[in-house]
Amino acid sequence: MAIETGGSGPPDFRASSTAALRDPQIRANFRRAMDGLMAKRAALFADPAEWQALRALGASIRARSLARLPELLVRLEERCRQNGIAVHWAETTAAANETVLAILRAHGATRLVKGKSMVSEEMHLNDFLAAHGVESLESDLGEYIVQLDGEAPSHIIMPAIHKNVGQIARLLGQKIRDAKYTEDVDELTAIARRVLRQKFEQAEAGLSGVNVAVAETGTLVLIENEGNGRMSTHVPPLHIALMGLEKVVERLEDVPPLLALLTRSATGQTITTYINMISGPRGEGEKDGPREVHLVILDNERSRIFADPELRATLRCIRCGACMNHCPVYGRVGGHAYQTTYPGPIGKILAPQTEGVKRRHDLMHASSLCGACVEVCPVEIPITELLVRLRSEAAHGEPGSPVLEAGQARNRWEDLAWAAWRWLHGSPRAYRLVSRLLARCAWLPPPRIGPLRAWTSVRTAPRPARRTLHELARARGVRDA
């Protein structure tokens, strides 16, 4: 949960999305940004055959890695330790926070500079560290902007995408001492850079995420465009890397196809400006790099997802954000409305599994199942199918189900409505009688109650025709069975 909803009440997507729809700035900012991202991606996947082949390869690499996940994680740990990287396991975000804090305290570190890490957002690490006297500063420009404004990221790749240049200019003008107001993007970047350079030099520790971890070599792959990732992982004497346990692949040769899919899908780039392959701390006689490297591997319900062979596909995700860029719901309500670390379509299948299908029930139903996300997913996650599966688990999950809060979103009225639906549509005579009756009543003004009231808020009520197709077909001599 990225945004606190005030008190301990559950997140409410219905309320937050309705509020977001009323903010014309959100819609305009997202529409423009998403249009640009979709066009850039499409230009790089112009050849359908190449796209199909590459995504099939990406999906197979991720599926193969997941099929052997426990074994690969053990091997990753061994190789990392051989490389001098200390490996820590955390079952919960709370445990991960404590682990990070313990490492920092062991080094007397109170100033941490961070590269981009969605796992750290999952942990609410910044707030946790601040409460324990550690300054945790975001160095990715977008993350820096949202941190300055006391916000959470609204997109997993472009955290400040909900803001336009004017909003960012005002923010930096207010929050940074001696910064003059400017809407020139290069000048704005220079202002942030000036602040961050100093922080990189002062920080006693750096923190980063991990895009891919390679089991056979114990290598942590980190891609970025701003150089802040390299600064965070190489300048301070201590580097802590955070990863979700699903990010491991078997071999080094698995990396290039995944990176090719990731950068093209995410930002429409064939390659990022920086590709960091971190294989350990500074060696004997080397002149740079951290003295110590720690890897914290987070579970946070991932092993629960892993346990179900169908839902496991959720863990293939390489966090490119293409699903949100193409989602007609995300593009209209923006990322904050989801109240999740990962918004958009991937969040709609992930959050119910990590937080519970009852708690995030509304989120699972907030999809027209249009499938735009499935079409662009570089690792072929069947997002709409998994949504339908989770909806079913929420309403009818048995006690033995691996899904969190399975069966707890059961609604007696809904069950009754579907039982009536089933009876009517399973009884041809009754169905024909009712549909004929509705057709005969087509002249009556439609009652504005229940579902029709919501429907008619922006549409005319649908009116039945005077005669059903069943009647017309019979009248015109179309053969029955």
């Binding site: 199942l369 735009a372 089933r422 549509h425 549409r459 009520a461 077909a473 179309v478």
Partner: protein
Amino acid sequence: MAERREESRPRAVYFYGTCLVDLFFPAAGMAGIELLRREGLEVVFPQGQTCCGQPPFNCGHSAAALAVARAQIALFPQPWPVVVPSGSCAAMMKRHYPELFAGEPDHPAAEAFAARVYELTQFLVGVLGVQLDDKSQRSQRSKASQLGQREQRGQRGQGGQPVRVTWHSSCHALRELGVREEPLALLGQLANVELAPLARERECCGFGGTFSIRFPEISAAMVADKAADVTATGASELLSGDCGCLLNIAGHLARQGSPVRARHIAEFLLERTGGD
């Protein structure tokens, strides 16, 4: 082209009307039936049919969906194609019946049924290879042309009244069935029909069945954008192959007092080619 396909051409087909067509767009259903009959096929419409089961399936109530789907399959025993004037319902039967019936004793029967399902335009183009002749002029329509006899469709290419239309593909036709070119190919055969594409033709209209009821505000924002896109094309008609999308977009256009007429492609094709 038609000759080449003659061998695989079936003698008879089943027509699956769908519940939305049955109640709200029966003329579209009859137009679909006429388009098939005109190609010399016997069309069978089992009167016991109701709904494909997609609404409860999508909502996670698969037991209700399974019971009704099983009752539908039983109504189509002959090995004939099942033609559906809806991409969404066809996708439910073709793509989702096999998963719905997974582990059930009649899974093989569901798979065999799914293999026989076609969306209407997919069938007209892919199996029948129909060639349409644009000759509709409402004022000149004769009784003979209403019958739509093949031999009377001479003088190809003259065309009817010039009209500009736009096309909305349902997401399920597009993404679950891969039906995109077929309806465009049919419209392209009509000499005086100008197709003005939507700027965002792949974007969902916001219907999504119960989604439009559960999240009316989000659905409203989506359909408003779609209606604006339709209006911007300058088309006088919006055509689609899915009645859910049509109910949604047409309802919004009507609420705005838009003069754009929204209807099912089958009705339009039949009218333009001299049927009624």
